[in-house]
């Protein structure tokens, strides 16, 4: 990506294209505003008073600042519980997936390993042919995992895409390092843990973030496999708050609070669910771009 910054088109003869410069900036600014304004609007609504929200007066700036919506969110034990549940299982998923991905990518990166091609085929086939929703559902059911948090972990434990990214990186590490360690009497485990992994921290961070964000944002499998509201992830909880607020399982809207308070609470819930992503966003952006670039480089 450094090339993007290095090359300076249009500077060659010191020419300035003022017309197109303005037009490009206007278009990009509009696009970027469209990307960001919806989030700002919801934040503004979440900290506004009831009256201006009813009157539809809140656009991008909050009016009559009122944080009671957040008090409702934080006082709702199911919301906090969903947040912790999401964090807990995102961490477990990321940790287990990393172990599994490393253990798969490392042997696959060894050109000399007999059976490597067969392994690669075994790993690639599920990328193109899967059982589909129902076959997977019936299998999870057969394993007795319905309504267990493990149903959100085990079926998606190792991503083939991430494995290939990591394998490509491992392949780029000079084999001489491995050879000299072998001469010193290291076995493959020791080489992996002491030499290869410390060299791969950036790639490992990228992939860990890929996993964490995927698990954090995933909603479909919670919908398919989880029935008990105590095991709802934050995404599932948010869906219920925003889209099913009339149903009885949303405790916050009960208790005689009127619909408008619910609107500010809904917005607070959206912000509450977005904040974790916004916190890690600076890291995400850096590593994800790298990840996409590694992934784009074919063998």
């Amino acid at each position: 990506m450094s090339n993007v910054a290095a090359a300076k088109p249009g500077r060659a003869k010191g020419r300035r294209y003022i017309g197109s410069e303005i037009v490009f900036n206007i278009i990009l600014t509009i696009f970027v505003l469209v990307c960001v304004l919806p989030v700002l609007h919801v934040i503004a609504k979440s900290i506004s008073g009831r009256a201006p929200v009813v009157a539809g007066k809140v656009y991008l700036l909050p009016k009559e600042i009122d944080t009671s919506a957040y008090a409702s969110v934080f006082n709702d034990p199911t919301m906090i519980k969903s947040m912790w549940f999401s964090i807990e299982w995102t961490v477990i998923y990321t940790a287990l997936s990393m172990v599994s991905t490393i253990l798969l990518a490392y042997p696959l990166s060894k050109q000399y390993l007999p059976g490597r091609k067969t392994l690669m085929i075994i790993v690639l086939i599920p990328m193109y042919f899967t059982g589909g929703t129902i076959a997977n559902f019936l299998w999870v059911k057969q394993m007795g995992l319905i309504d267990s948090p493990w149903s959100l972990i085990l079926p998606i434990l190792t991503s083939t895409y991430n494995t290939i990214i990591l394998r490509n990186f491992f392949e780029s590490i000079p084999p001489s390092l491995e050879e000299s360690a072998k001469l010193d009497g290291c076995n493959d485990w020791q080489i992996l843990i002491r030499i290869i992994l410390p060299l791969s921290t950036a790639s490992l961070a990228t992939i860990a973030l890929f996993y964490a964000v995927a698990r954090w944002n995933n909603y479909a499998d919670v919908r398919y496999y989880i029935n008990t509201s105590s095991k709802f992830t934050l995404q599932m909880k948010l869906y219920q708050v925003v889209f099913a607020s009339s149903s009885s399982d949303v405790s916050m809207v009960e208790g005689g609070k009127n619909a408008v308070l619910a609107e500010t609470i809904q917005c607070a819930a959206v912000v509450f669910s977005t904040v974790p992503i916004l916190i890690v966003y600076p890291f995400l952006q850096k590593y994800f771009v790298q990840g996409v670039m590694i992934g784009a480089v074919k063998e």
């Binding site: 990307c35 059976g115 493959d188 398919y224 669910s273 952006q285 784009a296």
Partner: protein
């Protein structure tokens, strides 16, 4: 290449057990990931036979009798008008996504690249990538809040004296919203691959173009675009390979009861029939149809990209 070939001959001479003994640690590593693959990617395929069985939860997959005729549930699927609606909606929404969504990242990438200041470039990129990281539930909530009947857009419309528009409950409007939301979520992120392609263009070409008297727009048209054309074509073909698949979450979080005729796609149809209504054989048959068609498209796309010498995905 030659070295590789020589090495391979050597492996073939190595016996199976000898190889296992020599590389035992590497093979041991594979136990965890491979058991995951077999247990959760290959074993579930056994559930596909449900599409050919009169499935009963009590008898289990193995114990349920085969359907007579064996394609009973496929016949049911293919004679179901709702199924064809879902197939048509899947293709229609994908085509609209492709037509309106595909060019935008290219245009944005070119404009971002033309920015002189690195800081400005970074700022645009940072803000543009943001929607990609929000979950579909959050995006669906934002859409509902902004385009709902009491949302800011409708408030602005009525303030200016117009009549409020029902963006989400009207089928035609819903399709527009669906496509626009998709662009909102992915266009910025989609610029990455094109930015990489553009930054790979030889800058001598730009200078040559300028010497020949090209302005910026002409330079973009005659140098940048042709140079990134291979990337564009590859991305287009890969996108065409996904024409019959739509993930579950995006249509699900956006749809409502008023628009199901336009919004029901294969994935949501399967969810409704299979998981909600427990018509497992029927829904599995739909799944199989979707998987097979999808696989043909993806493999077709890969073959085409390979023929073009760009190396497909496998």
């Amino acid at each position: 290449m030659q070295k590789d070939a020589v090495k391979q001959v050597k492996y073939k001479r190595m016996g199976f057990f000898k190889a296992i003994a020599k590389y035992k640690w590497l093979y041991l590593m594979l136990i965890i990931p491979l058991s995951q693959y077999f247990l959760f990617r290959y074993a579930p395929l056994s559930g596909l036979q449900v599409a050919f069985k009169d499935f009963s939860v009590f008898k289990g997959i193995g114990g349920s009798p085969w359907a007579t005729p064996i394609f009973k549930y496929f016949n049911e699927v293919f004679s179901s008008p709702k199924f064809w609606t879902a197939v048509w909606n899947t293709v229609k929404l994908n085509l609209l996504d492709l037509f309106f969504g595909f060019p935008i990242p290219i245009i944005l990438a070119i404009m971002v690249y033309e920015m002189r200041s690195v800081k400005v470039k970074r700022l645009y990129q940072t803000l543009m990538y943001l929607p990609h990281f929000l979950s579909w539930v959050i995006i669906g909530s934002l859409v509902a809040k902004i385009f709902g009947t009491n949302g800011p857009i409708n408030n602005l419309i009525s303030q200016m004296g117009g009549t409020p528009v029902n963006f989400l409950m009207d089928e035609g409007n819903w399709v527009v919203m669906y496509v626009a939301t998709g662009i909102w979520q992915s266009a910025g992120w989609g610029t990455i691959i094109y930015l990489a392609a553009i930054s790979g263009v030889n800058t001598d070409l730009y200078e040559a173009a300028e010497v020949d008297g090209c302005g910026r727009l002409r330079r973009i048209w005659y140098v940048t675009l042709p140079c990134i054309m291979p990337t564009i074509v590859i991305m287009l073909i890969l996108r065409l390979g996904q024409m019959v698949g739509i993930g579950f979450e995006r249509p699900y979080v956006m749809m409502n009861k008023m628009v199901t005729d336009s919004a029901d796609v294969i994935s949501t149809f399967v969810y409704d029939r299979g998981i909600l209504n427990r018509q497992y054989p029927f829904a599995t048959a739909v799944d199989i149809f979707g998987s097979v068609v999808n696989m043909c498209f993806v493999i077709g796309a890969n073959i085409v990209t390979r023929r073009m010498g760009e190396g497909g995905l496998f």
